[in-house]
């Protein structure tokens, strides 16, 4: 502990018998400061002394009253504080009883009280060297005993820095804060701040800085102090095994998102099944069903996957996986966390009757040049970012697949089947961030992706007579988003973002079907967050959308609810070539009120006003609340009305035809949370969703679709998770039970919806071994999706095809139970400036041929399962600096 600064003058004195003493000296400049109190206290002390002396005088009625002059401090002695005293900076008082003799010398001293006993002997020792002008009574010096309050103002003193260490974490070069090290030679400790650790007050010589084995691996770093120089060196430290403080999945704490789960991106990448892509781990959370073929569709609490949205910083993303589920289109290095709200969220999100996944980008500015190179069997990518000033940085990323080269080799020499454009994708991202002062931050995020494939089937080995020619897919998107975050006042914050994302989709299924869509949407979003009082917070905002789309489509009806599609050549084909324009203006408000510390209630409302080729106005009121019973237990509940546009294809005059209304749902959700330990969390939730105004195909081909459908989904989920901490392990167990049904008008009864996956169990975890080895597993168990069995077929002699006869009991059969085990092993080598990681991920370890769909013989007399991927080892390497 070091101390320094100025000492306030003055002291308080109380006469024991004779005159009180007072006064003081300005302290000398020193790292140890102590001294008497100020003149005001001195005057009070004198007054009190007079009163004490006056009482007996008055009682004895002894005339006349003596003239009393208190003793005056003429020499102040500074207390000497040793550097290892350990007293925190602050003000401390040791109250002393000091006897001043007739000469003004200190005849005796004793402590009567002390704020810190460690300071008491120091004050006593210093007080012995005090000298005073003696107290006078009627002009004659007398001995007195006074009370002296010795005040210590312990503060950081001006030090003489002799050596500076830049403390960096090995591998990432991140500055390390809060690292405590010792100078071995004198035992003095020092702590790093903002990545800088300063050693001071050492005479020239050789020393060793010692970092003990606690949070960081033990380090002994020799250094030399030279006279008149401030030395500088880097200190590389490495996190000690088992001390990760990454939070992988957090408890939902916001009352407006009672069912929210948050996944931190960093550690997710090591979970098996992710392929290094954190977004792919979302489907292992409670509330989500397993998507067929690992396609990445969000099937939340039994909702159709079109009813849920994936957003990037709360703005639409449209498609977030290459080729419908391979890898996400954003480099994971940009992602900070993923917020998942399966149901019952407040009005800040809209146009979704299912759930929301909001992918959040990292906010912290880069502290130096950073980058990574990632190579696996599918693609290679690189990212690099650097700060151009203390207030801004730039980041670039690019990734390209090369499975096209592999597949071209496979099909080389095949005259009948050729890859005109083998499956290939690329994506890119550019980010600019800048801080304007302490209150304004801007971000420009530009990203794009392009997927393309085309196969040429010159002759037909399949039963579909029209499956000859070209099968091609091309999908591209280029998005630019500008975000301005402003702290208008301490209690009022604003986030304004504008996003433009032109996109195109071109699907050509031989001669039978084509779907060409080009779209130019512009999104605007303003979010205001106003903390009115400690217990009252208003969030409000506005979302706006203007989009124009160009369609060129030749396709059959979109299949719905348990349909068994006939061969493509037998279906009625619809053609559309049109332009669709719609605009939406959606203001919303959400009030968070905490009437009691344990109760938070959030009413919210949102209004959507659509114009253009679809015109509707509707409002969604919502309410959620949270009861924090104690530090461990919480109860939550929420309900609300959720509405969304009918499926986008129904905006087409040819495909939609009818003037459909919005699809609607009422969510009800309640749950209990228990967090007995900081790293252990348990949650049980129940939900009910009533679906109405659902779009269904109409028998009337002049209308095609109606809003007559309705359904329900109910069930619950259970989550037990372990956060990373001292256990070397993190992971979770999630179980979801869902019943998802639609009303079957033909049978006048409920039937399973297409997304009715009753049981979903996910066990996900990774264990950190010493020496940067990580081993992870994922085990999944899920009910099969329902399907409508085929009872027979008839022969269509116009097309030489058999047409299936579906059972009237729609979705009455199920695919077999799905189960799969994935394993992943990571080994990391950490160097000073970079790190290298190798990983081996084995999906479907025991090679379960899981049924993903049913297939039929040409006349539907025989069936077999379409299996998912067999055992699939994936090897990858990643270098990061």
């Amino acid at each position: 502990v070091e101390a320094g600064g100025e000492t306030p003058p003055g002291s308080k004195a109380m006469c024991f018998r004779e005159a009180p003493a007072g006064g003081g000296l300005p302290p000398p400049p020193s790292c140890v400061v102590a001294g008497p109190e100020g003149p005001a206290l001195q005057q009070v002390a004198i007054l009190v002394a007079f009163l004490v002396l006056a009482v007996p005088a008055s009682a004895q009625e002894t005339p006349p009253e003596p003239v009393v002059v208190p003793p005056e401090l003429t020499r102040f002695e500074e207390a000497k504080l040793p550097p290892d005293l350990g007293v925190e900076p602050g003000a401390y008082v040791v109250t002393l009883a000091v006897t001043v003799d007739e000469t003004g010398a200190v005849a005796g001293v004793e402590a009567t009280a002390s704020d810190d006993e460690r300071l008491t002997p120091l004050a006593l020792e210093a007080a012995k060297s005090f000298t005073f002008k003696p107290a006078l009574v009627d002009g004659a010096p007398v001995a007195v005993k006074i009370t002296y309050r010795y005040t210590f103002d312990v503060r950081a003193r001006e030090r003489s820095v002799v050596f500076v260490f830049k403390v960096r974490r090995k591998g990432t070069r991140e500055p390390v804060d809060g690292l405590t090290a010792l100078v071995e030679e004198n035992g003095r400790s020092c702590t790093s701040v903002a990545g800088t650790l300063e050693v001071s007050d050492l005479p020239p010589g050789a020393y060793t800085l010692y970092v003990p084995e606690e949070e960081w691996v033990e380090v002994r770093e020799p250094f030399e102090v030279k006279a008149g120089e401030v030395g500088e060196a880097e200190l590389w430290v490495e996190r000690r095994y088992g001390t990760s403080h990454q939070t992988v999945i957090r408890a939902p704490r916001e009352a407006r998102f009672v069912a929210k789960q948050t996944l931190q991106a960093t550690e997710l990448a090591r979970l098996p099944g992710s392929g290094g892509d954190p977004l792919k781990m979302v489907e292992n959370l409670p509330g989500l069903a397993r998507s067929p073929f690992g396609g990445g569709q969000l099937i939340v609490f039994g909702a159709d996957f079109l009813d849920s949205h994936v957003l990037l910083d709360s703005q639409p993303m449209w498609w977030f996986y290459h080729f419908g589920g391979l890898y996400s289109t954003i480099n994971p290095a940009f992602i900070d966390r993923i917020d998942f709200m399966p149901a019952a969220f407040d009005a800040s999100y809209g146009n979704a009757i299912g759930g929301i996944v909001d992918v959040r980008l990292k906010d912290e500015l880069l502290d130096g040049v950073h980058g990574a190179v990632d190579v696996n069997i599918v693609h290679a990518g690189a990212i690099v970012g650097f700060p151009y000033s203390e207030d801004g940085d730039l980041t670039f990323a690019l990734r390209r697949s090369y499975i096209d080269a592999v597949l071209k080799l496979v099909f080389m020499g095949n005259d009948d089947f050729g890859l005109t454009t083998a499956p290939v994708y690329y994506d890119y991202q550019f980010q600019w961030r800048h801080r304007f002062g302490s209150r304004n931050r801007v971000r420009l995020f530009v990203n794009g992706s392009d997927d393309a494939m085309e196969v040429l089937n010159r002759r037909n080995s399949m039963s579909e007579p029209t499956f000859v020619g070209s099968l091609g897919l091309s999908m591209w998107i280029h998005a630019a988003s500008f975000e301005w975050e402003s702290d208008i006042t301490q209690d009022l914050k604003s986030v304004l973002s504008v996003k433009v994302l032109p996109m195109g989709f071109d699907l050509n299924v031989f001669a039978s079907m084509k779907l060409q869509v080009t779209q130019l949407p512009v999104h605007l979003r303003e979010d205001l967050d106003w903390r009115i009082r400690d217990d009252l917070r208003l969030r409000a905002g506005l979302q706006a959308l203007v989009t124009v789309g160009w369609l060129d489509v030749r396709a059959p009806h979109v299949p719905y609810g348990g349909a068994v599609p006939a061969p493509l050549g037998n279906q009625d084909i619809i053609e559309a070539n049109e332009t669709v324009t719609v605009a939406d203006l959606a203001p919303w408000a959400s009030l968070e009120w905490q009437p009691f510390p344990w109760w938070t209630i959030v009413p919210s409302v949102r209004m959507d006003a659509w114009v253009g080729d679809w015109t509707r106005v509707y409002a969604d009121p919502r309410l959620s609340m949270r009861f924090q019973i104690d530090e461990q237990w919480a109860v939550k509940a929420a309900t609300g009305l959720y509405q969304q546009t009918p499926p986008v294809f129904t905006f087409s005059r040819e495909f939609g035809g009818g003037d459909l209304g919005p699809e609607s749902a009422v969510h009800l959700l309640a749950g209990v949370e228990w967090q007995p330990l900081p790293d252990l969390f348990l949650q049980v939730e129940g939900f009910y969703k009533h679906l109405f105004n659902q779009v269904e195909p109409s028998n009337d081909k002049t209308v095609r679709y109606t809003n007559d459908g309705y359904g329900r989904a109910f069930g619950g989920d259970f989550l037990l998770r372990v956060n990373p901490g001292g256990w070397h392990f993190f992971g979770w167990l999630a179980y979801t039970y869902v019943v998802a049904q639609r009303w079957d008008f033909a049978r006048d009864d409920w039937r399973s919806s297409d997304t009715d996956q009753r049981h979903v169990l996910n066990v996900v975890g990774t264990y950190e071994l010493p020496h940067h080895w990580y081993i992870g597993l994922r085990f999944r168990l899920a009910s099969g999706y329902p399907y409508t069995p085929v009872t027979g077929s008839v022969f269509d002699a116009d097309t030489d095809q058999y047409v299936p006869i579906p059972s009237p009991l729609k979705n009455s059969d199920r695919l077999p139970l799905f189960h799969q085990l994935d394993l992943r092993v990571d080994k990391e080598w950490v160097f000073e400036n970079w790190k290298l990681a190798l990983y081996l991920e084995v999906q479907n370890v025991y090679n379960n041929r899981a049924a993903e769909a049913i297939q039929y013989s040409y006349d539907y007399s025989q069936t077999d399962w379409v299996s998912g991927l067999p055992i699939l080892p994936v090897f990858g390497i990643k270098g990061e600096f």
């Binding site: 067929p292 073929f293 396609g295 569709q297 079109l306 449209w318 498609w319 080729f323 419908g324 589920g325 009948d416 010159r458 002759r459 037909n460 080995s461 399949m462 039963s463 007579p465 029209t466 000859v468 099968l471 897919l473 999908m475 989709f505 699907l507 299924v509 001669a511 779907l515 979109v558 006939a566 037998n570 279906q571 009625d572 619809i574 499926p647 986008v648 294809f649 040819e654 028998n699 009337d700 081909k701 002049t702 008839v794 022969f795 269509d796 002699a797 116009d798 097309t799 030489d800 047409v803 006869i805 993903e852 769909a853 297939q855 039929y856 040409y858 025989q862 077999d864 379409v866 299996s867």
Partner: protein, 341 residues
């Protein structure tokens, strides 16, 4: 768009998987292989001849024909919205005159509202005439509990106009009963309409013959082919097989032709071939049952209900049936020389 992506993935995955089933062109049990309606587009009051092509005809007990002018189409497995009209005769061939529809057309007026309800379920996107009729009907009957007679008269007249110009699609139903009682159902469409100069009636696509290796066959012959060796088979289309016709928007399009190959033994490399890539490869197995030379059917389809076929017999080269078999074969001509059409 997002709904389509997983469908595409499904198609891709399915297409890449090995098919565990027997191919459609392997004929190993009694089946209806095709139905020819000639012509496929007769005049509104003309007649079309029907011929069922079946494999193992001796296994069939009966073939019964019926017609439906109000078929609900593929989505409802050709269910008929009215009782089907039986067609006299019981055999592989039959005929249906368009005049048989006149009483039915007249009767439409009696339940015209029901007819409109039916036609709503099957009207095609580009059947502008019928859509206009439905729109006019909706406007006429709006707010009326009972459809006024003038609406019925106008709607009926418009319907007849639409049917005559656009055609009335009659779906013929063949119920083929096997001796074990199993009934196989097959459906074939013919469109009865008044042809115009711009839109002449469709003719069935015809084959002049098939080249099997070096042999040219016109149909009905027996040809020797090497066992366990791929033999090229090539359909030879008659001139004008590909016709051109206008679509409802007035654009002229060429027909899309494809060829379906069937055989009682052996394998084809492709289930189908096309007009653009017509050839196929045929392989006879090494060991064949001497009582069953491979019967091969070659069907050619257009996309307007036109279909024709020819058949031939393939025999392993060098294999000689015994004398009885030879006699039973009736002294077939064995194609041995080269030939060209």
């Amino acid at each position: 768009v997002r709904r389509i992506v997983p469908i595409l993935v499904t198609i891709a995955v399915a297409a890449g998987c090995s098919d565990p089933f027997k191919p459609q062109n392997e004929v190993d049990h009694p089946r209806v292989l095709g139905i020819v309606a000639d012509p496929p587009e007769p005049a509104f009051d003309g007649t079309t001849a029907l011929e069922a092509v079946v494999a193992y005809p001796e296994e069939f007990a009966s073939l019964a024909w019926s017609a439906c002018p109000l078929s609900l189409g593929t989505e409802l497995q050709y269910a008929c919205a009215m009782p089907e009209m039986p067609i006299p005769g019981d055999g592989a061939t039959s005929a249906f005159p368009g005049t048989a529809l006149k009483p039915w057309l007249d009767a439409l007026k009696m339940a015209f509202a029901d007819f409109v309800g039916f036609i709503r379920q099957v009207v095609r996107q580009k059947d502008y005439c019928t859509r206009d009729m439905i729109a006019a009907w909706d406007a006429c009957v709006a707010g009326q509990e009972t459809p006024p007679q003038e609406c019925v008269d106008a709607g009926h007249a418009k319907t007849i106009e639409c049917l005559r110009s656009g055609g009335i699609e009659v779906v013929f139903h063949l119920a083929a009963t096997l001796k074990d009682g199993t009934v196989l159902h097959a459906y074939k469409t013919a469109r009865f309409r008044d042809a115009t100069a711009d839109w002449p009636p469709n003719a069935i696509p015809r084959l002049e013959g098939v080249k099997v290796g070096d042999h040219f066959l016109k149909g009905g012959e027996l040809v020797e082919v090497e066992s366990r060796r791929e033999t090229q088979v090539l359909p030879v289309f008659a001139g004008g097989a590909v016709e051109s016709c206008p679509d409802p928007d007035g654009n002229r399009n060429d027909e899309k032709l494809w060829v379906s190959w069937y055989s009682t033994a052996g394998d084809f490399s492709y289930a189908r071939s096309t007009y653009e890539f017509p050839e196929n490869r045929f392989t006879l197995p090494g060991i064949m049952d001497p009582e069953s030379d491979a019967t091969v059917w070659v069907f050619v389809y257009d996309d307007r209900y036109g279909v024709s076929y020819l058949t031939f017999t393939a025999r392993p080269a060098g294999w000689t049936p015994d004398a009885n078999e030879e006699d039973a074969a009736g002294g077939e001509d064995v194609a041995g020389g080269e030939g060209e059409p």
